[in-house]
Symmetry: C2
Subunit: 418 residues, 2 copies
């Protein structure tokens, strides 16, 4: 299970934490007790609901068919509807199986033409993920790709290659019924950014050849642990309370950092989750990420010495899952002190040194993850989703709407004559 550490020489929030937890325990109890105020958006809270054995059987069978027939699998989705899958796939996918490509997340003709060019001559399957089937990017990309498949394979064969993930009773479901596409259910009671452990997030991961049962098991283990652990020891609630304490103290940013480049796309999922959940009513901590050690040579300067805007949450991956020793090659240079060392050790030393330097300037939280595999991605997804829900409740905002995303859409639909 994840472990949680706080190193806060700066604000000494540790001393406040007990009292804060006690004062807000009612929110924790309400959330794990099954509060009814957001019940139409809490389908993700019990992972069994949308990732039970029958659902996994169907997803795995579908994934097998795709893996046996496709050179390319295009995930058409935007925001929460592709970030979770992508974060696991980019971290764990091996070279075998179809290439996973992403569409539905841009309107740039340049980007889309590049993507289309890479399909030529290859066997293509697509999954259009669109909860309300009104969002422009996936809708427009689906049109282009659907037509490409029909032109390339004929309507009948194309239909076999089209999966669509939408809500029951939606226009997207009717299209599937009418044209013979495979329909997967986008849970009505789960918003895009909470879909990691549903068909939305799981099908692409399964197509990539990653063990979705292990992923779901990780999420379920985390769910069980977080539901059974009282507020005062509950790492999700402690994390949410610390975020709230730092926000109240005037911190503007939370930086999520790690020393594993494998987490690059996970950051994007995390940023989307927190920014869209909390950034409303003129409130919220702005989420940013640090790809260390690379970005120690970039934002690292700012973190250490710039405007004191942030606290930092490190994802500490204990077992890097790889080993590479620096051997002496007989050439003396300025790095002879590294002879015989493993990069695992060097990277850990850099991590520890960074924490030591940063904790003198800003609060540092550490989340220890045993290793980066499907099981632990499941844990991370569930941990952050529950934490984010709790954090938004502490902040006093609705965790499940996104009114600010609608603002530009009105002007855009106007401009497009919708």
């Amino acid at each position: 299970m994840l472990k949680f550490k706080l190193l806060d020489e700066k604000c000494q929030a540790e001393q406040m934490l007990g009292g804060y937890i006690k004062a807000h325990e009612n929110i924790f109890k309400s959330v794990v007790g099954g509060e009814t105020c957001y019940s139409d958006a809490l389908g993700w809270l019990h992972t069994e609901r949308w990732a039970g054995p029958a659902q996994l059987d169907r997803l795995e069978a579908l994934a097998d068919t795709i893996r046996n027939n496709a050179d390319v699998f295009v995930v058409i989705g935007v925001g929460g509807s592709n970030n979770a899958a992508r974060s696991v796939i980019e971290a764990l996918k091996t070279a075998d199986g179809p290439e996973i490509m992403y569409a539905g997340n841009t309107l740039s003709p340049h980007a889309l033409c590049q993507m289309m060019a890479r399909l030529k001559g290859r066997s293509v399957y697509i999954d259009c993920i669109a909860k309300n089937f009104e969002t422009l990017e996936p809708g427009a990309s689906f049109r282009i790709l659907r037509k490409y498949l029909c032109d390339t394979y004929g309507a009948k064969e194309a239909a076999k290659r089209i999966i669509a993930t939408g809500t029951k009773g939606s226009l997207l479901e009717s299209l599937c019924t009418g044209h013979g596409y495979t329909f997967l259910e986008f849970p009505e009671d789960v918003g895009g950014r909470y879909t990691a452990i549903t068909a939305v997030g799981l099908l692409p991961v399964a197509v990539a050849g990653i063990d979705i049962r292990a992923l779901v098991k990780g999420a379920q283990a985390m769910e069980k642990s977080l539901f059974e652990t009282p507020a005062a020891e509950n790492i999700a609630f402690k994390y949410a309370c610390l975020r709230s304490i730092y926000y109240d103290k005037g911190y503007a940013l939370e930086m999520l950092a790690s020393f594993e480049p494998q987490l690059r796309w996970f950051y994007k999922w995390w940023v989307q989750l927190f920014a869209e959940t909390e950034g409303k009513d003129g409130r919220g901590l702005f989420p940013v990420c640090g790809e260390y050690s690379e970005e120690l040579h970039a934002v690292g300067q700012f973190v250490q010495d710039g405007t004191p805007l942030m606290f930092e949450t490190f994802l500490d991956v204990l077992d890097p899952g790889a080993s590479l020793v620096i051997e002496n090659d007989g050439i003396q240079d300025a790095f002879d002190y590294l002879d015989g060392m493993d990069f695992a050790q060097i990277n850990r030393t850099a991590f520890e040194a960074t924490v030591r330097a940063h904790k003198a300037k800003l609060p540092c939280l550490i989340l220890e993850v045993q290793r980066l595999d499907a099981f632990h991605f499941g844990q991370l997804f569930y941990f952050f989703m529950l934490s984010c829900y709790l954090s938004a409740r502490l902040l006093g905002v609705n965790p499940f709407d996104q009114p600010g995303v609608e603002a530009y859409k009105r002007w855009m639909f106007d401009g497009l004559g919708k």
Copy 2:
């Protein structure tokens, strides 16, 4: 040339701008007049100095040799020493020529093992970019790759495949002399983050088959224009002054946004440039990026409705360089209003709608770029480097040091027994 627009219904900084420019004109005059206080770090200011005809001839000849012989070219650099090249390469590289890979920017054994695995059986050339040749990441990666080349090709052939870019008189130069590697000069008077228009940034770009003469021409055109235009109309100084005004007004973040995914790696260069230049002495605007339209479904919510922390600078690419029309495929769905539209038009409509929605909530700056090609990347590099220098001078910090990067290094070198 780039064009500059300000849409600020929120703070009405436009009205203050004239007075602010007048009050700080001495800084502009000092910078373009050749101030001496930072003269040991201003080698980039006149692009001719490190990217003159003879230097370009040599870089192009070397790049041709590599292109004729390599399947893979590995750029070993970190921070400013690879970001500029990478931002152009990831945006403009076509499929032909060697694959460009990046090392020296991580200590993760997992990431490095993955990179090494992709070299097997392919013809490899490397460029180790290290100004002082003390930074751990490039130093350690160079060891691994140098040994791989020697083991694979033998010392003599390996030497032909090794380029090293360091300062004159450095240990890296001695290694080149001693072992027959090709040596390129890392300008002593240019810091890593200002190296876009020197051998550091230009060799990888040339190896990728991108026209470095056009890149340099763009930078030179921008240099000429910015040196000849008086402070009141000078877009670099106006931009720097606006950043300073917003910082003084209490804004914490600048968000750089565009609707072209091609700019993804350019953001990284920009963030590194500004974070390391300005984030010191407890000061500075924290630089963040928005990959729109995708991230309108993520940070977009926060930008519109969250804590009012930021102003926003849009890079508006006028000509997307591609066209993709949505044709009716006979299937009615919720997107019939898009029939016959070009994504170029849709993406522009989304951009205009976003500016319209955001400008009501936060100051919006727009930088118009004609198109994304080598010439305009050159313009962007020079524009932002000069702006950043001016901005740091207005902020009252040293634009060319990075004392905060040293803090963790001390603990790290301790831990590694250096």
